[in-house]
Symmetry: C2
Subunit: 500 residues, 2 copies
């Protein structure tokens, strides 16, 4: 933490309403509403978080009692009893620049400021949405597309409360010079009725008026999807770096060839990538910035992504920062589990351009150590040394530790589970400061952790990998025969990759 940063004397209440009736942002800066609860202590400085207090965290040894709480609460819900509602969001408009990284998050990360935690989770949920909405089903007519039209994406995933509207979709080519991971099996490609050479890889969204008031500026978000394939694809990265167009050439800025090719590839022969992912994203970003700058609004750009998506977010941020005049648009990246995307000069160049990067990484996740850590032992000897020297991370780090959560299994290696976006969101929600236990007042739904893995302890009785469709999308027709359920017509991608 830079000790020279001035203290900012703004009261930051942590008050939460007990009523869930109005989930939207409510201005609640009124000092009188601050709760006196020890766990809700008043925070007078952005730089000074509430001190670590043992009673505010759950230690591993107290799991049984906390689990009972969860059980009891669940029981209450079942009989229609009282239950906590979604917490109301704090109004952060006055401090949005600091939360957005203008000071490199000095004093906000350890302990983690609740306002920042809330914003990290918001962006993380956008990154998670790129997985939840992706059509992975290789038997689907629209495999590789988004399951929902942009108008229904957030509401379909229960994210209406974020206060954002999706304005555009981004596609990336699937047969560019990257590992096999984005490609589908050949017998599927053969059958594919939708589009076998492009995949939906993310979206652009915009804060609505209410959220804009709460966060103090119009926020353009770009969320990039990560990989669909096993972790091993990182093994396939060739360790080839190449210069980045527009970067400070004299400084030797270089980025990983594979990531860059996902970001920049296009072909007239494809349906959705006549324009590259870069061009699609930048066109929409520029359009939105222009509209709202012309209205005299302050505009920020926040780019997020998980895994590969985190690497793409950096490339996108670099391009955006080059595009807009300095100071016109604040550009930040909030990445999760991102691999190293380029060399040290790339990180320096991002900073020179004013891009703020917050990297959320989990101690137990191997992907953020890649390239550089190679899973395949045979290749390890060959390239480990050179890669580690060459690739470098950019920005500030928020380091999570799975051992902090009493809800996660211990003692075993769960390479997939530790890389899952929902695991990250769970640990951000429970993070107080490094070395402390899990926040007692963490409210994020624990069941979400097991969406695509089985990390939760058995005692919670949440099924592993539970995010699945009923009967894999088959439904009975009126004759009693099982047929593939048609997509809602408005969720069928049209010829240009948009939706009707």
């Amino acid at each position: 933490m830079a000790a020279s940063l001035p203290a900012i004397h703004i009261p930051i209440p942590i008050a939460r309403s007990s009523s869930g009736k109005n989930r939207a942002a409510i201005i609640r800066c009124n000092q009188s509403k601050i709760k006196t609860n020890a766990a809700m202590s008043v925070h007078l400085h952005l730089r000074i978080e509430r001190p670590y207090r043992s009673e505010t965290v759950i230690s591993t040894s107290s799991l049984s009692s906390s689990w009972n709480l969860v059980e009891r609460e669940e029981e209450e819900k079942r009989v229609g009893g009282p239950s906590k509602s979604t917490p109301e969001k704090e109004v952060i408009g006055s401090k949005w620049r600091e939360i957005h990284g203008s000071m490199e998050w000095a004093g906000l990360l350890d302990p983690l400021h609740p306002w920042l935690r809330q914003e990290i989770i918001k962006y993380g949920e956008f990154a998670q949405a790129t997985y939840d909405a992706f059509d992975f089903d290789h038997l689907s007519d629209y495999c590789g597309s988004c399951k929902y039209s942009k108008h229904r994406l957030l509401s379909s995933l229960g994210l209406s409360r974020t206060g954002y509207e999706v304005t555009g979709y981004i596609y990336a080519m699937s047969h560019v010079d990257v590992p096999r991971w984005l490609e589908r099996p050949s017998h599927v490609a053969k059958l594919d009725r939708w589009c076998k050479d492009s995949n939906w890889i993310g979206f652009v969204a915009l804060s609505d008026d209410e959220e804009t008031r709460r966060i103090g500026r119009r926020d353009v978000v770009v969320a990039w999807r990560g990989t669909v394939a096993p972790l091993e694809w990182y093994n396939d990265i060739q360790g080839r770096m190449e210069p980045l167009e527009g970067a400070d050439v004299t400084a030797g800025v270089r980025v990983e060839h594979g990531f860059l090719s996902v970001y920049t590839s296009k072909s007239e022969s494809t349906r959705y990538n006549k324009f590259s992912a870069s061009e699609q994203a930048m066109r929409e970003i520029k359009r939105l910035v222009e509209v709202y700058r012309n209205r005299g609004e302050e505009v920020s750009l926040t780019i997020t992504g998980h895994s590969l998506g985190g690497a793409l977010a950096l490339l996108n941020a670099h391009e955006a920062a080059r595009t807009f005049p300095t100071g016109e648009v604040n550009v930040s990246v909030v990445s999760f589990a991102a691999p190293r995307a380029g060399n040290t000069a790339f990180g320096i160049d991002l900073r020179r351009l004013g891009v703020r990067v917050l990297r959320v990484v989990l101690e137990q996740d191997v992907v953020p150590r890649m390239p550089g850590l190679v899973l395949n032992k045979e290749r390890l000897e060959k390239i480990k040394g050179e890669l580690r020297c060459v690739y470098s991370h950019a920005g500030k780090e928020l380091r999570l530790d799975a051992a902090a959560s009493p809800y996660l299994k211990r003692g075993l290696l769960h390479p997939v589970g530790f890389h899952c976006m929902e695991t990250y969101l769970h640990l951000v929600d429970g993070f107080h400061c490094s070395g402390s236990g899990f926040r007692a007042d963490a409210e994020r739904d624990l069941a979400l952790v097991n969406k695509a893995c089985g990390l939760l302890v058995d005692e919670l009785r949440v099924p592993a990998c539970w995010y699945q469709e009923a009967n894999k999308g088959l439904v009975r027709d009126r004759n009693g025969r099982w047929v593939r359920q048609k997509r809602n017509p408005e969720d069928v991608p049209s010829l240009d990759g948009t939706y009707h």
Copy 2:
């Protein structure tokens, strides 16, 4: 086929209505309604099936065209166009004894008589229902129970059209002296809130008045569930046979100890097995037989089951035949994929008691060769010889061949898929006669095959193992949190194992 059996001169029409409005049985013996279609040729003798005609079967080489037909039909359904309805059922009242095996199915099996095929599929669907309705979820509050009350079982599974009503449930102890297969993991047993020592193992059902008219007698059905565990459990059978109570002792009747213990075990300490499966089944059977015999109706007992359920069906049939005076109740077994349950004397004794046994077996399924074929090679040498000599099958065999179906993958071993009940039903539906191809007019929904396996060829684009709950039973509560869905109150088992 016994050549000495007299030909029975009753016209047997194959007519099918093109309208699906009345799915119930309609008397249709009227000669004038017999279709003249070559594939619907008139059959004058029960013993003389329509001859094998190449145009009535689909050869493997013609898959693509037949698949196109399936596709086209599916398209029609999607746009609400015309579609085949469930075929109307033939009235078999006049010939029910032969269909039920009084003549040991002489002349009805090869080629397979359509009336018999229809009845085999009906009973097979009851056997399948014992799997579809079983709560396998080790995290469920009611793991090991039936997911539906007896009043809702058949309708919940789309089997209302069978014209039967479930009248009773049967439970079997789960920690008797059998292999590990019925037991749940220890950490689950610890958490189990329902009943960890009993599992739902089957049901008793009764034909309703309409079905009774169609099939010529009041039919009591007992359906026994098979194993929930991997095929390997057959390895654990100890090869211990023991005398069967009530059987002809001088003839040396012996049955497999493991199967018998499932059938007869009880304990005062359990909740649902204070009475054994045998006692529960027989009590209900006797009750129903008494009620309808007192009304002067003719009553049959048809016992069905798949895998272990087929072995239990034989034990149940032996007991039932001993219970009722000769000729009072016709007792038949229709088993699928059943292992050998006892020695040759057991088979002879069943026949002496008047039990007719139709065993449906698939050439490629290993289970019907057990005990006798041992998966574990180390134990193979030791006991193969003696077991094969000792264990014996009973009754008539209907032998299926997976190679007959152009819809199933070839060239690979699918020990699980070839053992699945739905695979059996598919092959019965397509069976014309041994060595012929697949019936062209087979109408059973192909998608069902892949419920719990991936045997269907990729071209059909039916997902593998698709029978699954949305989000493994988790639902969002009104606060947006994921919670376990409560069972419908009427589907919660009450303290005595019945339902409210």
